[in-house]
Symmetry: C2
Subunit: 488 residues, 2 copies
């Protein structure tokens, strides 16, 4: 609507005002305005809803695109359920397991988990809990049947009360909670259903046999689909998240120090990688818990030391706490003057680079599952850098004293001292990470020589250089970029 | 067996050796030894088993004794199940809901959670998911019935595949995951059971109505027992853990600095209280998630800002990271010499005490749910202490320079500088906690004047002193010890 049109409308309104009483004119004006506003509001609503739907769709798409295995998992669940329903429709099997076939459906719905470990954990718990609770209930039912009509409900209800209470309480025991939580639920469920059913023992035996077979069918279908169609291994997830977090931590150590000594702090994304490490405990613990249920797969053999990954994770968090403190020093308002900073710039950057290198070598060793041979040299280099920093720190006061207003300069240098101390503390903690990775390597029997092309190159070059020559380290510094194709 | 008896036995063995051939004598000796060893082994086994059982029993007892509500929860579950089984045994209701009564049992087993929030969350999710999936399945079944015998299984299986896949994928959306995870499981379960059952729509309507009523009975029994018998509120748990963590953090700040300047570092327990704060994220998030389902109770009104507690928790963790770094400085091998430490001892201890005071006032304000009126003064006092520390730090180089070997002293003082810088950073983060608590107080409409006896005393004394007089703070410094009886 251009200005002329608006004027025309305005004159129309004015005409109206002449012909009708004033009160009505005001109302009409309001109505016209209200209708227009309602229209605008509707249009705005439609636009908003469209935007919201589009935004939601984008978000959902991103969730799938970030990790296509999620979409595959959804399709796998659909497939498993459809398979079960086909079993249900196929008459011979249907007649064999009777109306109990719903237990197969139920089993698939509740047992099918994202990771193989989750699936095995739930399947195992469901099977064992159903069998044990069923047998116990049969025994108690038999005793109750023998003790007469009057005592029977008392025995059944009493045993139900006691068992349910005891089983529920057992969930507060940490081991039970972490390994058998689902099993306890199924135990209580099965016991209640059997004990309360009111069937006679011989009827129950029939029922139990049917139910076992249906639950068995459900578990077998779940495990088969979970294992065959693009399996997601909790152990591998844990492995990958450890490797990724270690690389992020390396980037953060390097990034923080670079930001501190750079003219313009940038790279916030790189230097804040430590944040992923800080809150990873819950995720790592649950993955390690599930991973222990997984059968051997790929290079994750039977009794693979998944628990050690949580210790590596703890060492990384220990390091990340300090990086967090360092990062806040880097972003602090009060800073040492540039000319003071420059005195330690080189040595600090070198130390950070060495710390990052240790973390990257540790990460590539875990990633490739090879023995971290050069890690010790990297740690030794890092410790040399720590000593250099300490020497430079000791040399600092005389240099500053030589300048005018020495005391002021010393005071100004304090934030720099803090950064240096934190860096020294961080390198001690990086060494802790390296130690944890060393333990992991020996517990998991990481291979000494890797058959991978990239690693072979690294190994060959290592053999060319005597082990204690610095060149050996320079050649393996490329390692962090060589990821095992399986894990890339 | 005393020495004389052993001698007598020894001579007996000797006599044997005289009367039987040597080989046999050796065998007899061996047998006697083996039998003895077996005996000893058995005894050791029994002792070990007894010790293990006793140890396990002690552990279990401790779990219950630490928090008797756990034992009460177990009894509540037993009670709920027994009640449901009585409903099942009571003929009129039994006939009314038919064989579907098992759904009531199943509902109780899976819906009964430790906290009221968990119970409501699961009950609501189960009810809504059952109804919505049931209706949808009825609609699809109706369409399938109309489309003839050949298309029917295709439509039913196809819709099951698509819906199961879509629902499973929706669990990866964070909002769905945190609020409706259980509902999605039940949705898939109900839809599969109804769609696959093979019943006609009119039969299904009957079945659906029965199942709804049984699930309703289960949910009502769960909620009733959960709410009536010693309810555990997720919101209150979150509240208490926040208060407790804040006090532990206060103790850690104080303890670390006291340890640093004390002649002999002790109190490790006190100064390591920050560890509880570091890993509390997962627990706080889940409690806040459950708390939003809870009806208003006590002083937790409708739409109480539980989410702000997670922000207070995040601020506390932010502070704890720095306390962790400080703690490692305190326990470091390289320390500043005692005479240098002593120069900043008083002012650092004062700052730590002020920081701890801010945290304690914030904690007691949250605990008593009163507006943190004196918190601003405590923060101001803390900032004054920060400035004092900064002044003392600036005065340090001339003092050290006056001593002999000034440069060495300065270098030695470096660890002290780091401790001081970390303390300053910690007080900035403590202020962040205070800000988060302020926001919580305004969002949750914390009362301005508290009717409690202890708090009234505090308030009265506050009115006696003009607000900007330092005395006002001294009087309220007692506050941290006055806990609301409900929360003690």
């Amino acid at each position: 609507m251009d200005a002329a049109a608006r004027d025309a409308q305005g004159s129309e309104v004015l005409e109206w005002r002449v012909t009708v009483p004033e009160g009505a004119s005001v109302t009409v004006e309001h109505e016209a305005g209200a209708a227009g506003r309602a229209c605008a509001w509707l249009v705005a609503c439609v636009i908003m809803v469209r935007a919201a739907v589009a935004g939601f769709a984008r978000k959902v798409w991103k969730i799938g695109a970030d990790d296509p295995r999620r979409a595959v998992h959804a399709l796998k669940v659909g497939l498993a359920l459809t398979l079960v329903s086909i079993v249900y429709y196929t008459r011979p099997i249907y007649d064999g397991v009777g109306g109990n076939a719903m237990w197969a459906v139920m089993t698939v719905v509740v047992v099918f988990e994202y990771t193989v470990g989750g699936c095995v954990y739930k399947g195992f718990n469901r099977a064992v809990a159903t069998v044990s609770a069923g047998l116990l209930a049969l025994g108690v039912n038999w005793v109750a049947e023998k003790s007469g009509d009057k005592l029977q409900p008392v025995i059944l209800s009493g045993s139900l009360f006691l068992l349910a209470a005891a089983a529920t309480f057992s969930r507060f025991i940490p081991t039970v909670k972490s390994r058998f939580d689902y099993g306890v639920t199924i135990f209580i469920l099965t016991y209640s259903l059997v004990a309360v059913s009111g069937y006679r023992v011989d009827e129950l035996l029939d029922l139990a046999q049917q139910r076992m077979s249906t639950i068995g069918i459900g578990i077998v279908i779940c495990l088969a689909i979970c294992l065959v169609v693009w399996p997601v291994w909790a152990g591998q997830e844990l492995h990958l998240v450890t490797v990724r977090n270690m690389e992020k931590l390396a980037g953060a150590v390097e990034g923080c120090v670079e930001d501190y000594f750079a003219a313009k702090p940038g790279q916030a994304a790189k230097s804040e990688g430590y944040k992923c490490v800080l809150n990873s405990k819950a995720m790592e613990d649950s993955q390690a818990n599930l991973a222990r249920w997984e059968p051997p797969h790929g290079r994750f053999r039977f009794r693979y030391p998944y628990a050690q990954y949580t210790k590596v994770g703890a060492a990384m968090r220990h390091c990340a706490y300090c990086v967090e403190a360092l990062n806040s020093c880097v972003r602090a308002e009060v800073q040492a003057p540039e000319h003071v900073k420059r005195l330690l710039g080189d040595v600090c950057t070198r130390l950070a680079a060495q710390g990052a290198r240790v973390l990257r070598e540790a990460s590539s060793s875990v990633s490739a599952m090879t023995s971290p041979k050069t890690l010790d040299f990297a740690v030794a280099d890092m410790n040399t850098a720590v000593q250099e920093l300490q020497v430079d720190l000791r040399a600092l006061p005389p240099i500053l004293a030589a300048e005018s207003a020495a005391e002021m300069s010393l005071m100004d240098a304090m934030p720099l001292f803090t950064v240096a101390s934190l860096l020294i503390e961080i390198s001690a903690r990086v060494e802790g990470v390296a130690d944890a990775v060393d333990t992991l390597a020996s517990l998991a029997n990481f291979k000494l020589v890797e058959a991978d092309d990239d690693d072979k190159k690294g190994q060959t070059e290592m053999k060319v250089h005597p082990l204690n020559e610095p060149g050996a380290d320079a050649s393996t510094q490329e390692n962090p970029t060589t990821k095992h194709p399986e894990h890339a």
